[in-house]
Symmetry: C2
Subunit: 282 residues, 2 copies
């Protein structure tokens, strides 16, 4: 396969930059691809491509002045990743009702009948973190390729974490509707404290990263007030207390869906992190 164009689009996950047809660069980039994908699946057809992968793509589309060629990589995931925050058959009436309520606030109609963005925004959610070429160098390729986001690692709908996040930038608020599946048990019939901590980390961390660069959790301080029955739906609401340099302070509470019962409250501290060291230099 010969590549004569200058740019390459696609990868549903990542951005790909193609180089001019310099032999050295081509060989170098072919090696990068080989390093990235070796042990992941047999990719013997691609070594002639002179591309630089920042993220692991699921398909590659090559465009020259007149011709567009698409190469699907035989990865074990579908090319279009599943958005786990959309309704599925496991969602109960409470979860669905609240989803529809907040979803209806994501788009508003103006007086002229036009549709525009509303105060709330639904955040999509996938089961893979982005993979960086130079990230996780000490991890075996097998672990890298099989890694899945902790809260989205189950294929069986409703078995574990079912949740959807909505963010309101104007009010600096975030709301998560969370339905706790049967695989999250801690005390008999109730949700594990670690599963609740996981959702609090997820909601507050997502909220903090919406406001700035990517963040890392520095502290979680969680008070468990009342256990959450397994199978039930609860609301997790977070709001920003303050921002100081790299620090973002967030508070959070978990309540029954009508807000009458407080299950858990927490504070969280996040630190912004630079990500430039994770990216290949161009």
């Amino acid at each position: 396969m010969k590549v004569t164009g200058k740019t390459i689009t696609a990868g549903c996950i990542g951005r790909i930059v193609i180089f001019r047809d310099s032999k050295d660069q081509r060989v170098q980039m072919a090696r990068s691809i080989g390093r990235l994908l070796k042990g992941f699946h047999g990719l013997s057809t691609l070594p002639e491509l002179g591309v630089q992968l920042n993220h692991l793509p699921t398909c590659v589309s090559l465009r020259t002045a007149s011709v567009r060629t698409k190469v699907a990589l035989s990865l074990p995931f579908p090319p279009k990743p599943r958005d786990f925050s959309l309704p599925n058959s496991s969602w109960g009436p409470e979860m669905l009702g609240l989803y529809e309520h907040y979803n209806s606030l994501c788009e508003v109609e103006t007086e002229g009948g036009e549709k525009r963005e509303g105060p709330w925004q639904r955040l999509p959610s996938y089961n893979r973190s982005l993979k960086y070429a130079t990230g996780g160098v000490y991890l075996s390729k097998i672990i890298q390729s099989k890694a899945r986001l902790f809260t989205r690692n189950m294929r069986d709908p409703g078995a574990a974490f079912e949740y959807v996040l909505f963010v309101n930038e104007g009010e600096q608020r975030c709301v998560c509707i969370f339905q706790a599946g049967h695989l999250l048990e801690g005390p008999p019939g109730h949700v594990h404290g670690g599963a609740i901590a996981t959702m609090i980390d997820t909601v507050t961390g997502t909220h903090a990263s919406q406001l700035s660069e990517p963040v890392m959790t520095a502290n979680l301080n969680i008070n468990y007030r009342s256990p959450i029955p397994l199978g039930s739906t609860v609301l997790i609401e977070s709001c920003v207390d303050k921002k100081e340099g790299r620090k973002t302070f967030i508070s959070c509470k978990v309540t029954s869906t009508d807000g009458s019962k407080l299950h858990t409250d927490a504070t969280a501290l996040f630190l912004s992190i630079g990500v430039s060291h994770l990216l290949l230099r161009e």
Copy 2:
């Protein structure tokens, strides 16, 4: 089936107390069994047994003076529950080495060549919480029957939480060897903060419940110092700070296996709970 003995052994999970052949008690207990198991599986053969189930057994063994009869219940799990804290093929050399180290301290040889209990004790670990007759009454039977302990809900060895706990009663210390599987990802290539919180809750909670009655988590305060690479093995050590009435205060740290790197430290507060209301009255 007629039961003439006074005691009943077995059930791999629970203790069973048999009553004398009083008709009233027999009927009452048959109803209890029916309530416990209805919707769980068809158990039409047992209503004549006059037994009181505190926990859900997987098999029942009846012993009179001369005859022993075993009744296997057709539960969807193996009669002997799997102990998840024993080595499996996914354990790496670090995990195995540390397991063997602490396991060797569970039994010591006296000068006379006799073997006796050592200072450490390995704690077995199963994937089901005990089910109580009157617990979780608001849960659907489907959720109850499918419920699994959060940290042991994966069948695939090595995919998520691989861990084993050792407790030293004399020193009031607990050590957990934890190998983080590929399904626990948070930041790319690293363990999710919620998965770390889950292990801290598990270790400190198990430790607290070793010292007193069953406990519930009241507070977790966790400082994340350094991320844990996915696939790596770490040590989680907890020690009791103090006990005040129903409160147990525990501190905990997560380090590299040689103790040189501090990944996380935490404090935890647990409240003892009475469980008498969860048991049938005898």
